[in-house]
C-alpha cells in the first residue's frame, strides 16, 4: 500500500502490470521508460530480472516521479510480474503492497484461455493477501491489436470485463507505444482518486 512521508513530502505508490506470458507487460514498461517526458532525475533505470532469453524471471522495475501536489512529490513504482504459469510464487511476492493494476491481455484469439486463466490467477493471488479487485483500482489493456487474428474488443470485454463494475479498457499495440500511456494515466487517475476519497486532515 502507498506510503505517505510527511518529512520528505513524498507519496509512493506501486502499480503492477499483470497478465499472461508474452502478453506485453515488459514492453509496456520499456515504452514508458523510453517515451515518458520527465524532468531530469525523475526517471529511474528500468531494471529487468530476466532469463537469458529475455523472459521475465522475477520482475521488471521502473521508478518514476510524476506530478507534485501541494509540495508533495508523487513517486510511482512500476512493476511487472512473470507471466509464465510456473512462476506463481513470484507473482504473489510482486503483488505485495500493490496500489493499482494494469492487466495486459493478449488479443489473439488463441490466447483467450490464457487471458482468462491469468485473470483468475490475479484474483486468487490477491485473495491470498486478503485483497480483492473490488478494492484495488485496475484497468485492462487489450494488447497486440496490430496482429491479424485478434478477438473483437467486445468479446474481450465479455471475457475479462464482465464483473459488477466495468473498468476502463484500452486497445493497445505496446511495441508502437499505442495504449501504453492511456492505460498508465487511467490507472494513475483511478488510484489518486481513491486517495482523494480517503483524504483526511493532515498532520502539521
Amino acid at each position: 500500500m502507498a506510503i505517505i512521508n510527511q518529512a520528505t513530502k513524498e507519496l509512493q505508490v506501486k502499480i503492477v502490470y499483470y497478465g499472461p506470458a508474452m502478453g506485453g507487460k515488459t514492453t509496456n514498461l520499456v515504452q514508458v521508460h523510453d517515451h515518458v517526458q520527465t524532468n531530469a532525475g525523475n526517471k529511474g533505470k528500468l531494471v529487468s530480472l530476466a532469463t537469458s532469453s529475455d523472459r521475465t524471471l522475477f520482475f521488471d522495475f521502473l521508478p518514476i516521479e510524476a506530478m507534485t501536489i501541494k509540495g508533495f512529490k508523487t513517486k510511482f513504482q512500476l512493476y511487472t510480474v512473470p507471466g509464465q504459469v510456473i512462476y506463481n510464487t513470484t507473482r504473489q511476492l510482486v503483488l505485495r503492497g500493490v496500489d493499482g493494476i494494469v492487466f495486459v491481455a493478449d488479443s489473439q484469439f488463441e490466447k483467450m484461455p490464457e487471458n482468462v486463466e491469468s485473470f483468475q490467477n490475479l484474483m486468487d493471488n490477491l485473495a491470498a493477501q486478503k485483497l480483492n479487485l473490488a478494492e484495488i483500482p485496475y484497468v485492462l489493456q487489450y494488447n497486440k491489436r496490430d496482429l491479424p487474428n485478434v478477438a473483437p474488443v467486445e468479446y474481450m470485454d465479455f471475457l475479462l470485463n464482465n464483473r459488477e463494475v466495468q473498468v476502463p479498457s484500452f486497445a493497445g499495440t505496446a511495441h508502437k507505444c499505442e495504449g501504453v500511456f492511456e492505460s498508465l494515466n487511467m490507472i494513475t487517475r483511478m488510484l489518486l482518486q481513491k486517495f482523494i476519497n480517503q483524504s483526511v486532515p493532515q498532520y502539521a
Binding site: 506510503i3 517515451h35 517526458q37 533505470k45 518514476i64 511476492l93 494513475t188 487517475r189 483526511v200 498532520y203
Partner: protein
C-alpha cells in the same frame, strides 16, 4: 492489510536518529528501512550515488524470495539474508511484518558486529513504525487541488522528433 499510511516528521526523525547511531556503532556504510512491498522509507549513511530506490525494491524482492524458500522447507526463522562481496556486503534483517532493514558495510567490518547492533536498532525501528501505524490507520492524502481531468497533471509522452 497492515500498512504505513502516513509517516510524520517525528517518525522520520526518530528513525533517522536510530539509523545514524547504528551506523556509528556498527561501522556500516549505510542503512535503509524498506517496506516489504519495495518502498524505501528512509535511509542514512554515506552512500554517494547509489540508486537507493532500486536497491530498496531489489532488496525487498530478494528477502521476500528467501522468506518463501523458508516456507517451502518448513522453516519459520529465515529472518535475515546476507550477501558477501569482495569489497561490500549486504545484510537484510526483518524489522516487523511490514518492514526490513538493509545494511551495507565494507569487508573490513565484521558481520558479527553488524548483527549484534542491528538487532537492537531493529527493535527501535519496529517500535516507531508501530506508533505510526496506530496513530492514524486510515490516514490519507489531501489531493483536493489536483485536477485529474487535466492531462498535464499526468504522465506525458515525448513528442516525436
Amino acid at each position: 492489510m497492515a500498512t504505513l499510511p502516513q509517516l510524520i516528521e517525528e517518525d522520520i526523525r526518530q528513525l533517522d536518529d536510530a539509523l545514524a547511531e547504528f551506523i556509528r556503532q556498527a561501522d556500516a556504510i549505510g542503512a535503509l528501512i524498506i517496506d516489504k512491498g519495495g518502498f524505501l522509507i528512509t535511509h542514512k549513511g554515506d552512500m554517494g550515488e547509489l540508486d537507493l530506490t532500486t536497491i530498496g525494491a531489489l532488496a525487498s524482492g530478494a528477502f521476500m524470495a528467501s522468506q518463501t524458500i523458508a516456507g517451502l522447507v518448513n522453516e519459520k526463522n529465515f529472518n535475515s539474508t546476507f550477501q558477501q562481496g569482495e569489497k561490500f556486503s549486504l545484510y537484510i534483517l526483518e524489522v516487523d511484518e511490514e518492514c526490513l532493514l538493509a545494511i551495507i558495510f565494507t569487508s573490513q567490518t565484521g558481520l558479527g558486529i553488524v548483527k549484534y547492533y542491528s538487532s537492537n536498532v531493529a527493535s527501535s525501528i519496529a517500535k516507531q513504525l508501530t506508533a505510526a501505524r496506530v496513530r492514524n490507520p486510515d490516514g490519507g492524502f489531501d489531493l483536493s487541488v489536483l485536477n485529474l481531468a487535466d492531462p498535464k497533471e499526468l504522465f506525458r509522452k515525448k513528442n516525436k522528433r
